[in-house]
């Protein structure tokens, strides 16, 4: 196994992981897969998943997610009910409900899937659009459906659609774009943040691409092309010249060589490690796969989730849990349910309000999730989730859940929680301290378990994924 990221052999990195005596396939690794591909898994789910091979799981996760993405969530009665109130804040609770209640071993008719929700969250951060400015729940929901529909599909189609998405255009102040004064906002963001990254375009490219988007407007919450305001003159974008329309301008951006590398690097950061920046040679095989598959996302995700590097020490425990991963992850692992309005509010307090990304760059992620104020907030979130009167664990108390999982002593409790909740096992001293704490506490058994988990949340490993 390579010693550092810079010296990783890309062939080894992206080859399928084959369990061995040195690194057997077990519940801990299955838990790692579920944390990264979704938001964690309960003990019972891990029991079922560990019976299948890592490659088989990666393939079925992607196939199930793709199937779920094509089922129209418009029929989701919960979403309709939330939309009827017209409040985007209620939509956050709806999305958290999907994240929490999507089954790993879902039936074929399921419209929810943990990987699908995880990728939708990824694209929500990528094509960041904030409800505060859009101020319309229906439009935010429509964009969310768009992201979900294309989450594992054609990146090109997703980019074309998001370019005409009313919520996106409102967010980027592009509700009117007249030929006399082309609005450069969207042209800049599509190249800098959505497709190519800095250094792969010029200011002139932005100005020319902006001319392609002239005549694109939002009227009464719908996209409209005003042909009288479209600049029909010749434009030169990224080396190509012609009387391009907006769609043709987007197509030119999508054809750039920098695009697959840009997207692949973001996916590596999201699924494998926060730091350091992935070296070029490590990203290149994924970029090639993305280009070869005509920008289909699904095959890249499958390659990542089945790879050697995904199960290596370069990945395990090398990411900081986002607030959503922390909160929803805790509930999922403990088979929990809670008041999701309040959960959404708590997630907002520690820096991740879904539907409300901080700016057009989305959430920075990584180390930025943790600072002196959010660290306390994260521990409070854990405590609040465990003690909230609406919280149930498999419809029961924590004590009953632990008993169902064969937990009969403080030692076994720590062992069970360690495997279920932590990406990196506790070291001996932390384990001893927790055991001493567990043996000292008295009173209601559920409360004692809750106190132990909250104490566990003060251990650094708890915040790693």
């Amino acid at each position: 196994m390579p010693q550092d990221i810079a010296s990783i052999d890309p062939d080894w990195a992206w080859s399928p992981f084959v369990p061995s005596t040195e690194q057997p396939w077990n519940r801990r690794l299955a838990a790692h897969l579920c944390r990264r591909a979704g938001f964690g898994a309960s003990s019972q789910e891990l029991d079922a998943l560990v019976k299948r091979s890592p490659s088989e799981l990666a393939h079925s996760f992607v196939e199930n997610a793709k199937a779920a993405s094509q089922r129209d969530p418009e029929t989701d009665a919960l979403a309709s009910a939330m939309l009827a109130t017209g409040n985007s804040r209620n939509l956050a609770a709806w999305w958290l409900y999907r994240m929490l209640n999507s089954p790993w071993a879902g039936d074929q008719a399921s419209t929810t899937n943990p990987l699908l929700e995880k990728l939708t969250l990824f694209w929500h951060g990528h094509f960041a659009t904030g409800a505060e400015k859009v101020d319309d729940a229906e439009m935010m929901f429509t964009q969310n459906r768009l992201l979900r529909r294309h989450a594992l599909g054609d990146f090109g189609a997703m980019t074309q659609e998001i370019s005409r998405d009313p919520a996106m255009l409102i967010y980027l102040d592009s509700t009117t774009n007249r030929k006399a004064h082309p609005n450069e906002n969207y042209a800049r963001e599509i190249m800098e943040l959505f497709c190519l990254g800095e250094g792969n375009y010029t200011e002139r490219d932005i100005q020319e691409l902006a001319r392609c988007f002239t005549g694109w407007e939002v009227r009464r919450k719908k996209f409209r092309f005003n042909r009288y305001q479209h600049d029909t003159g010749a434009k030169t974008i990224l080396g190509e010249t012609g009387t391009f329309t907006g769609e043709e301008g987007v197509e030119i951006v999508l054809k750039q060589k920098a695009l697959p590398r840009f997207i692949a690097r973001k996916l590596v950061r999201f699924f494998i490690f926060d730091e350091p920046t992935a070296p070029e040679q490590l990203v290149e095989p994924l970029a090639k796969l993305l280009r070869r598959s005509e920008l289909q996302i699904g095959p890249v995700i499958e390659r990542i989730l089945a790879s050697n590097i995904f199960y290596s020490p370069f990945a395990v425990g090398r990411k900081v849990r986002s607030p959503v991963e922390l909160g929803i992850g805790l509930l999922r692992c403990l088979h929990g349910s809670s008041n999701l309005d309040q959960v959404a509010q708590h997630l907002d307090d520690i820096g991740q309000a879904v539907f409300y990304p901080p700016n057009v760059k989305g959430w920075d992620g990584g180390r930025t999730w943790i600072n002196t104020s959010t660290l306390l907030g994260r521990s409070n979130l854990v405590g609040e989730l465990l003690r909230n009167e609406a919280t149930r664990f498999g419809g029961q108390t924590l004590e009953t859940l632990a008993k169902k999982n064969g937990v009969s002593s403080p030692g076994k409790l720590i062992e069970w929680l360690d495997e279920l909740l932590l990406a990196v096992p506790l070291d001996d001293s932390a384990r001893k301290e927790l055991l001493a704490f567990a043996e000292q506490t008295t009173g209601n058994p559920s409360r004692r378990i809750a106190e132990l988990i909250q104490t566990l949340s003060t251990v650094p490993q708890f915040h790693l994924a």
């Binding site: 939330m82 939309l83 017209g86 209620n90 409900y97 008041n339 309005d341």
Partner: protein, 590 residues
């Protein structure tokens, strides 16, 4: 859990123990059973509450349809299968065996003669008098329970129930709570001095009792029917002693509170006493507050609330079958607005002055208090109806009730023109705001309905929204203004305006004729609108409790089923027969 159950059992035990220990000590020869509870209470009592027939109350409750329905619910079955409840049943059976009576018989025997509780300011004590229907059974039961309680205390290493003696009567308990049994009476008090006063009356016979208090006697004499619980409070003495300082305040900072209960405060500042009567029957539960009322007490600035000679009367509510809530009241709002300086504090007066200026502008320079509110008659109604969307498209996803304000115009010919113009301005204003926010626009129209004009405005759907069954919330509204002779109706929908025109013509006068304020909630219509929005309620429940759809649907189903057991609720304020009366009633289906 076991400890809690033991504590409950012991509590029952101690009460009954107190009762039953009488034959264990020498007792004076008393005719205690001949006196009524009020004859035993000191004349200085400030508050008295009586429940003459606790046995009847329990019978009514246990035979009530609502209780039977609750027993049919799976949650009830689950609760009584709980190990804690089973343990409680075991303990109860043990006690029943010891006292030789089923719990129900013990309850009826020991409490059957009534319960009376009083507060006495001199001692700051509370005394409770419980009268048994069978003194011998009371004593034997109490004796057994005292022994059981003491044995239990000893087994746990606790101090057994202590006892003392007062004028040859055994007193049980500690300083902050003692009891004694005298004939059929169980006397309990938290203050020794008060307990002794009652025992002295029991031993010595005639003494001045609360019955000699004129205010109490007058109130007691005027008891209406047979209340399950009746209580009396000597308000004059409370006021004179400096308590209830809040009643001295003339001004408030809350106009809504002033509108609702301003007149009640006027009464409470003068009335000598207040009574509360609680009635429970198979058909209804009713709580009635009554206080003597004299028109002389009404300050000039509160005449807007009572009307001339305190005879201001609300109109009969313009109810239809779909009415969920009706509030009909007598309030001369214009007078209240103009007397704001007397009624509200400085801050609220500043706020009202700003509102007055803005509203005067909105009503095209008409003085809001004098001209606009002054054009309304004092009888006003607010009505909330369930909407039917059966034949309507687009249907909103969230189905809200319609609502309306109904009243009379003092000068109909002139006022109608002003109201119509203001309504049209308002619709124009809403259209400007709506256009800025991308909301649908209102289209104005005039409808002639049964010779009455209805000025209406309907939201215009987008072409792809015309047939929607999950349309935006705006499609709950079609703001309308209707006139019928000197009546006006400002309704949230055209349909409701028509319903009110119909109701006014039919002159439905089922209730409220003599009420100052009459509020009625119709449980059936409320249940229907909740059913209309069942999906929304289930979704909210899923989000708030994190439950599955099935669990949430079951919970909402139970809520609707419980609601279906009720007819509704009424609240009336009346000033008749020299009394101010507030009556709250909940009607059930039995």
């Amino acid at each position: 859990m076991y400890r809690r159950l033991m504590a409950m059992a012991l509590l029952c035990g101690l009460i009954i123990t107190a009762i039953g220990h009488t034959n264990a000590f020498a007792q004076p020869d008393l005719d205690a059973g001949e006196r009524s509870a009020v004859e035993l209470l000191p004349a200085s009592c400030l508050a008295v509450a009586q429940m003459p027939h606790p046995d009847r109350l329990l019978t009514t409750l246990t035979e009530h349809n609502v209780w039977k329905k609750i027993q049919e619910q799976p949650q009830y079955t689950e609760a009584i299968s709980n190990p804690g409840y089973m343990m409680f049943l075991g303990i109860r059976t043990h006690i029943e065996t010891q006292i030789g009576m089923k719990w129900r018989e013990a309850y009826d025997t020991i409490l059957g003669g009534g319960i009376t509780i009083a507060f006495e300011p001199e001692t700051e004590g509370i005394v409770a008098l419980v009268r048994a229907t069978d003194a011998a059974k009371l004593q034997s039961t109490a004796k057994t329970l005292i022994e059981l309680g003491r044995a239990d205390a000893r087994s746990k290493g606790n101090e057994p129930l202590p006892e003392d003696e007062y004028r040859e009567i055994t007193i049980y308990g500690k300083k902050d709570g003692r009891f004694a049994i005298v004939g059929p009476w169980l006397v309990m008090s938290n203050k020794d001095d008060l307990g002794k006063k009652v025992l002295d009356t029991l031993i010595d016979g005639s003494r001045a009792s609360i019955n000699d208090n004129e205010k109490f006697a007058a109130a007691h004499k005027s008891i209406n029917g047979e209340p399950t619980i009746w209580s009396w409070v000597d308000l004059a003495t409370i006021r004179d002693s400096g308590f209830a300082k809040g009643l001295d305040k003339n001004q408030t900072e809350n106009p809504i509170a002033e509108l609702l209960v301003g007149g009640v405060l006027t009464n409470l500042r003068q009335t000598p006493y207040v009574t509360a009567s609680f009635y429970v029957s198979g058909e209804a539960t009713r709580l009635e507050f009554a206080a003597p009322h004299d028109n002389e007490w009404v300050e000039e600035f509160r005449e807007y609330w009572f009307g001339p000679d305190s005879a201001g009367s609300a109109d009969p509510a313009l109810e239809t079958e779909s009415t969920i809530l009706s509030i009909s009241t007598y309030r001369k709002v214009s007078e209240m607005w103009l007397r704001a300086g007397d009624l509200f504090d400085e801050r609220m007066n500043d706020e009202l002055a700003k509102a007055d200026a803005n509203l005067t502008t909105f009503f095209a320079g008409k003085d809001f208090g004098e001209d606009v509110l002054g054009s309304f008659g004092p009888a006003m109604q607010v009505l909330v109806n369930r909407q039917s969307f059966d034949d309507v498209l687009p249907k909103p996803a969230l189905k809200l009730p319609s609502f309306a304000l109904a009243g009379h115009l003092e000068n109909a010919a002139e006022s109608q023109t002003e109201l119509r113009r203001t309504f049209q301005s308002m619709v124009g204003f809403l259209n400007v705001i709506g256009a800025m926010q991308g909301n649908p626009q209102l289209d104005q129209d005039i409808d002639i309905y049964k010779d009455n004009k209805i000025y209406t405005a309907s939201f215009v759907p987008e072409p792809d929204e015309k047939e929607s069954e999950r349309a935006r919330i705006q499609f709950n509204f079609s703001p309308s203004l209707a006139f019928a002779e000197n009546r006006f109706f400002i309704a949230s929908t055209k349909q409701m305006a028509k319903e009110l025109v119909d109701a006014a013509q039919n002159e439905q006068t089922t209730r409220g004729e003599t009420s100052n304020t009459a509020i009625k909630l119709n449980a059936e219509a409320l249940g229907e609108i909740l059913s209309d929005n069942r999906d929304q309620l289930v979704a909210q429940n899923m989000i708030k409790k994190g439950q599955t759809r099935e669990e949430s649907a079951a919970e909402i189903g139970l809520l609707l089923e419980v609601l279906s057991l009720f007819e509704g609720m009424t609240f009336d304020v009346k000033t008749t027969g020299g009394e101010l009366k507030l009556e709250l009633a909940i009607q059930t289906k039995n």
